[in-house]
């Protein structure tokens, strides 16, 4: 029995280090290869020994697919390909291919230069790893090999994010990566056609959340920022360089313009300018509005937002600073946070999800005294606000996507176990689709049923279809043919053609039954009586009286003869071939009952 096997190496009942192994029809595909923001030890990368204990990665995997450039989806890639060793193809979209190496390099710098980690991947490794990447277009069907094909769908979420369909023959799996079902200020909504995969692997970050309208959240956000700067406070917005940053920049830029505000807005790291540039060059990946208006005004050219310099943090007076990274776990955002945390006039707005173990997660869960490096304790007096701007689908969106794709079953990853449990029940009850939520290292096996594609000869098909169109064809009709199997070539042809192709002669099996009747009339008259009797009963059949005196029903021949010894008896010879077996048998038993008395 064919089956699909799924094993998460990361992101199984967890958010972080997404990495899911899928085996489908003998092909092995790895979906994403991310790092975990909450760990600094071995646990930050997926456990590839699950594969390597049985041999080399390249031998086992047919391909690797990266859904988008966030580090929890691609952060382990250079480690995986260059340090553990994988030489096969890695697929991702063009924007992901462009941006991914920059984020990896950034990540490497923080890990090696700032934290002084040894045995980390090098810049050269990132370059070598990126050489193995094959870029794909949206909706392009990429033939990985003769049997395995993959296809990318738009996922929203961040620039270049994609969902992937993995297909072998008639079996398929869809992996959503991270996605967003509502269009926002700079990206469109995820979309997939009714591709009816055997399995849909979906993220479930916001499995239990149903978010209020975007408009409300935006108004709330602008109000908070505005109030803080009005009273002279500083606003810190930790973001990842690409994604929400652009969304919020567009939001603040238009607000500043409308309100004619002069308070400076800064964007940390030199990455941003570059980042915005990517958005400008990949306009086709953004939403309708931006695509339509970019000729007049490129939305990613900001007037009010300027580059941040480290010295600005100590400037007096209000300001708004976007700083990376988004979970306050390292880097510039953390530095600024430490500087500003002591002042209650200031505010930090967390616009996205924070992984357990990060400073962001701690302050969001209400912790006000943070233990920093060197036993220092940082007291947080500044206001802490959480506002979900991350572009993940909420429960409603996830259900909507499942409805769009119509999978046979659903598998949840990239979420917390408790929340998954809730969504799992919801999916099973409301959509009547079986749902799985394996933990890391746990394997889910799904049996699939495979129909077998064969070639049917057009003559046979057309003959059958033509009869299927007849008005009396209400009952399902039986098609009869011969399947010729030669090597792996399967063809269904009519029996006649099969015989002909194989050079075999037909063997005709014919029956002739003698039916004795008491009838004193002449043979011709008997035949005529048989004719009119059959004609009255077999209304749907072609009954004919031939000039030579014989009667035919379809291809069955009935002749009347008079045996010489008994003039009072007539013999009917009913003759049919094996192909007319039912009708022939029926006719003999019918005639045996005798003919109705002729009207005298």
């Amino acid at each position: 029995m064919p089956e699909i096997r799924v094993t998460p190496l990361g992101a199984g009942q967890d958010v972080g280090r997404s990495c899911i192994l899928v085996s489908i029809a003998g092909k092995n595909v790895m979906l994403d290869c991310g790092m975990h923001m909450g760990f600094n030890d071995d646990r930050r990368f997926p456990d590839f020994s699950y594969i390597t204990q049985n041999g080399r990665l390249t031998d086992f995997l047919d391909c690797v697919i990266i859904s988008h450039f966030h580090l929890d989806h691609c952060g382990a890639l250079p480690y995986f390909s260059e340090m553990v060793g994988y030489d096969g193809p890695i697929y991702m979209t063009h924007p992901t291919q462009a941006i991914c190496p920059i984020l990896l390099e950034d990540y490497r710098k923080i890990a090696v230069d700032k934290k002084g980690e040894a045995n980390f991947f090098t810049s050269q490794m990132i370059k070598d790893c990126m050489k193995k990447v094959v870029a794909v277009h949206l909706h392009q069907t990429v033939q990985v090999d003769d049997e395995l094909e993959i296809k990318a769908y738009y996922a929203g979420h961040v620039l270049g994010a994609a969902m992937f369909q993995i297909k072998v023959g008639s079996e398929s799996v869809v992996y959503t990566g991270d996605y967003n079902m509502t269009p926002d200020r700079h990206l469109g909504a995820a979309w997939i056609d009714k591709c009816r995969p055997n399995l849909l692997i979906t993220e479930s970050t916001y499995a239990t959340t149903i978010r209020d309208s975007k408009r409300c959240r935006e108004r709330d956000f602008l109000k908070k920022v505005h109030e803080t700067v009005e009273r002279g406070g500083k606003v810190l917005i930790p973001v990842f360089a690409l994604g929400r940053a652009q969304e919020l920049c567009i939001l603040l830029e238009t607000f500043w313009e409308r309100m004619n505000l002069k308070v400076p807005i800064y964007f940390s790291t030199g990455l941003t300018e570059k980042a915005n540039h990517y958005y400008k060059l990949f306009i086709p990946w953004t939403n309708q509005k931006i695509r339509k208006t970019f000729v007049q005004r490129n939305m990613f050219e900001f007037k009010h937002i300027k580059a941040f310099d480290r010295a600005f943090a100590d400037n007096p007076g209000p300001m708004v600073v976007f700083a990376t990274p988004g979970m306050l776990h390292a880097g510039q955002s953390l530095q600024i946070f430490r500087k500003w945390a002591g002042n209650e006039k200031n505010m930090v707005i967390m616009p996205g999800y924070c992984v357990q173990g990060t400073v962001g997660h701690k302050i969001l869960s209400g912790q006000r005294k943070l233990e920093m490096e060197g036993r220092q304790v940082l007291e947080v007096k500044m206001q802490v606000e959480y506002m979900s701007f991350s572009a993940h689908a909420d429960a409603k969106g996830i259900m909507q996507l499942v409805g769009q794709a119509e999978p046979e079953s659903v598998l949840l990853v990239h979420g917390e176990a408790k929340k998954m449990e809730f969504l799992k029940q919801k999916i099973e009850q409301e959509l009547r689709v079986s749902c799985y939520m394996p933990a890391n290292g746990e394997t889910v096996t799904l049996p699939t049923s495979l129909s077998i594609p064969v070639g049917i000869s057009l003559g046979l098909l057309k003959r059958e279809m033509a009869q299927g169109l007849l008005p009396e064809a209400k009952k399902p009709r039986l098609l009869h043919g011969t399947l010729i199997m030669k090597d792996s070539n399967f063809r269904l042809v009519s029996s006649e053609q099969a015989l002909k192709e194989l050079g075999l002669a037909e063997h005709q099996l014919r029956f002739t039954c003698r039916v004795h009747l008491h009838d004193t009339r002449k043979e011709q008259e008997t035949a005529l009586r048989v004719y009119s009797h059959l004609k009255s009963i077999l209304k749907d059949h072609c009954v004919q009286h031939l000039p030579d005196g014989s009667v035919t029903v379809e291809s069955i021949l009935i002749q009347a003869a008079a045996p010489s010894e008994d003039p009072g008896t007539k013999v009917l010879l009913v003759s049919w071939t094996y192909q007319d077996e039912e009708l022939g048998s029926f006719l003999t038993s019918l005639l045996k009952k005798g003919l109705p008395q002729a009207p005298s």
Partner: protein
Amino acid sequence: MKLYCLSGHPTLPCNVLKFKSTTIMLDCGLDMTSTLNFLPLPLVQSPRLSNLPGWSLKDGNAFLDKELKECSGHVFVDSVPEFCLPETELIDLSTVDVILISNYHCMMALPYITEHTGFTGTVYATEPTVQIGRLLMEELVNFIERVPKAQSASLWKNKDIQRLLPSPLKDAVEVSTWRTCYTMQEVNSALSKIQLVGYSQKIELFGAVQVTPLSSGYALGSSNWIIQSHYEKVSYVSGSSLLTTHPQLTVRNGGNVLVPCYPSGVIYDLLECLYQYIDSAGLSSVPLYFISPVANSSLEFSQIFAEWLCHNKQSKVYLPEPPFPHAELIQTNKLKHYPSIHGDFSNDFRQPCVVFTGHPSLRFGDVVHFMELWGKSSLNTVIFTEPDFSYLEALAPYQPLAMKCIYCPIDTRLNFIQVSKLLKEVQPLHVVCPEQYTQPPPAQSHRMDLMIDCQPPAMSYRRAEVLALPFKRRYEKIEIMPELADSLVPMEIKPGISLATVSAVLHTKDNKHLLQPPPRPAQPTSGKKRKRVSDEVPDCKVLKPLLSGSIPVEQFVQTLEKHGFSDIKVEDTAKGHIVLLQEAETLIQIEEDSTHIICDNDEMLRVRLRDLVLKFLQKF
């Protein structure tokens, strides 16, 4: 399979393919060479053009002098330029299911088809094709609409009058179907019917046919199309290029240079070449002007389709830098672009300069103005790069001309050598191409290399022709449900070949066929007695399998004996044997290819004998 050819222009094709149950239009090119018969539309009143003498017949009859003007021995129609549409009578265009566009030059007739033929289908094209195609159409509409012409000539189209006119007017085909330009409203409506596709995207048409665009390398977003079912495959190769570098173009100094061009396409490459040349030749002070109502959009659009560019350019985006260097030319003010010669341009205009502007036919657009302005000086040069129009014909209404002319067609499409090579690699069963490609060009009849040469010879088409393509479909894909597959009993007939007889229910939906196991025979309704004999009549349409094989008499007789038949007598006949069961008055004739059982009406006996016979035969 049939191919309807609606266009006579080999590089601006419009064909309709009937394949399985679908009707597919391949490209929708607009033959604009018809405009060469018209007088140019000047942007600014041109005394020279408006004072051209009217044309009169040899006998002096001058009733046509309002419509026809003469210039240096050529006769031109003084009217709004008209285009030669694809044939609309050959096939009912409302039956077209889809239109596949291969590049932005081959979609210019789209509004005529989608808006005026009852077309209700879908158009498929890549995003760059649509965006740039829109720019080309916008420019065309703008060029024509901004210089309204009061007069519309139609008298000359009368068949009896057209006969009297000099060439090439006399030989122009189907002038009665020529149409003036569409409106922007029609363009928008036509473009709204386009569905965007990506390279290698598989698109299902009614479940019967799959179409896929593949990169053709000719222009930004250009594609070849694969049209296939499970057993047949048609490749539509339109405007492909294998070129990865671009020909170096030398631009001469002194005087002005005019480059008539489309607002998108080769212009990007020309700008790139010039960019390199100007720097090395120390000509950085010569301004480049790009004048088109869509100049700005065109330059912007070219930068955002990184995914559709060649690898070199793609990698620039990753840095990230704009893929085309004209961004830098604009930033440094070396390249300026204007919507038209009116407005800002007249203030900024400095000579000498290089001007890129349309339309390449020289019949409308800002180029007309520059031809009038610079035509009289031999210091100036006009460079023709677009191969769609004959440059001599294009220049005809400007004669006499002092300006230098350079004809330097940049045609990045496949040439004949490349086509031959391609055909050798692909080994198609049949090749179909425009008739122009099956013989050497008329002007160079000795150049046997300038034609498509392949085996079997290519079938050629011309305008308004219908080709029946000589291949017969023989197979169709059908799925066998797993339950049915499990129930099949394969039997090896010859080494390597197995057979299984299949009796199944055929389900067909959306052109997909599925075989399901036959339903279980309905339980006979017990208790109630059937009233009518006719209800018991079996359905004769249930086919029984055919039989094959032969019956060895001796074994057959042994089997009969084993099953309790005695008193068996075997007689030899000319062709075989007769087995007699004397007691039962039954006779079985056995020959090589037939068996005939003749018996009394004893159903039990007959069925027993039948089953014994069948044991020796194979069912098909």
